[in-house]
Amino acid sequence: MEPAQKALMLNTGIAAQAMTLDSASIRSEFPTLNREVRDGVPLVYLDSAATSQKPRQVLEKVERFYRDCNANVHRGIHTLAEEATTQYEGARERIADFINAGAAREVIFTGNATQALNLVAQSWGRANLYKGDRIVLTEMEHHSNLVPWQMLATEKDLRIDIIPVRDDGELDQSEFDKLLRNKPKAVCITHVSNVLGTVNPLARIAEKARSVGALTVVDGAQSAPHLPVDVQALGADFFAFSGHKMCGPTGVGVLWGRAELLQLMPPFLGGGDMIKRVYLRDFEPNEIPYKFEAGTPPIGEAIGLGAAVDFLTDVGMDAIWQHEQWLIKYALERLEEFPGVTVYGPAGGVRGGVAAFTLEGVHPHDIAQVLDTSGVAVRAGHHCAMPLHDRFNLVATARASFYLYNTRDEVDELIRGLYKVKDLFG
């Protein structure tokens, strides 16, 4: 990584905006970004909240694993199996460092963030929640942090309380305070909203939750990729995220949980690897983290995520976050001056690099489709947050989302594309 490291060094020359990343050299690490959507139309990828592009070194790491030492992990003692196990467990350690976990065994590999959240609901929730117990969700949750709790609530007859979202895209903290009086057992909350860009004040929320004896279950799918995460400093009890949104492959996600909690939880899925002993009618579960990793894990994918975390660390999570702040600030300015555009979420201040908007008189699908003709990839729809869209009386929005490889020129392309939309539908 030596040369890449040098190439990715911060460009500190821009006076006004403090620091931004050297986009040209970062972009050169991402093969997809060189592609043309069609002849002569280069890709402007503004859909990283759905999934990020992958840097060369992640792809190479995964391919090298499959080419050189592909084997199943844990049980084998031949050379390939040992190499594979070392790489897989090494990835776990690097990911533990990345989020400042107390120990590597607190990091469980899953298929995606959604599975990680289901694990918490079905293992911790099923074992610890009883009829009439309350759990607190928010109006801005992604379906992945709503539906698992709804399923559990139906099964166990739990009550779901909702923290409302204010017009400015922030959670209503006074409502949260009221809900805490009912002594909920868990507060399940997203760190960063994938639609509004809201960055929730998690440390404060987790502290309040703890004060009434509730656990805090954090959906970190939109924070782990974009800002420095310290699960211990946040005071979270569980923290879930996906590899594919942070420069890693699809097929792998992570659940971090406090060891004391994980140790007491029953298994989630049953099968190979998650057991210590099996009899015909009974079994003894394995130690953590293996207790929660049933069957052959996503070995190549976890190793790829390890490489992604190395890549992000080398660039610097602080620098990435600042870069995105610098981009979103500009994007909000340009969008808000655009006639007929409404942007949702906090107007300024701290805000994730995502801008969901509508354009008067044009359905978001048509916006996305016409932008695609200019090579600009944005998402249109409910972004797996239907209740949040209902809250704002919307059926859909268009969403531009940014990552370390995006530039202000690309924001300009978005705006140019929107003028085309306007011309067509005006």
């Binding site: 489709q369 016409v370 003709t373």
Partner: protein, 128 residues
């Protein structure tokens, strides 16, 4: 300009034909595409021969969903229910004259789906 927004598609979107709600409709059905929030309602009046004497659609959504509803309404005026049964995805794509990716296909097919389910019940609609 992009193929998908040919002039006549935009024209159908901006000036939809047979748009509205029929009083005393014999058949009324509404459905939506929750992925993007397109909604289409179709009202039909049929005579003793099971021939469509009047048809109208209403709803909201993207240009593709609304334009294909408008074109479909135009197309089925005077057709029998048996004839309507024969309409396929290919017919809709031919009316639109464009190719569509998997997501937009759902938008384009919504009107046909509503029409067929309304006229024959859900078993007639197999999303292929």
């Amino acid at each position: 300009m992009h193929d998908m927004y040919r002039e006549f598609i935009l024209d159908h979107y901006k000036n939809p034909r047979f748009h509205g709600v029929l009083d005393n409709a014999d058949i009324t059905y509404e459905d939506d595409n929750p992925l993007c929030g397109d909604v289409i309602r179709v009202d039909l009046r049929v005579n003793g021969d099971k021939r469509v004497v009047d048809a109208a659609f209403s709803g909201q959504g993207c240009a593709i969903s609304q334009a294909s509803a408008s074109m479909l309404m135009e197309e089925i005026q005077g057709k029998t229910l048996d004839e309507i049964k024969e309409y396929t995805r290919a017919d809709i794509l031919e009316m639109l004259g464009i190719e569509l990716g998997p997501v937009r296909l759902k938008c384009a097919m919504l009107a046909l789906k509503v029409l067929k389910v309304g006229a024959y019940g859900v078993q007639e609609w197999v999303e292929d």
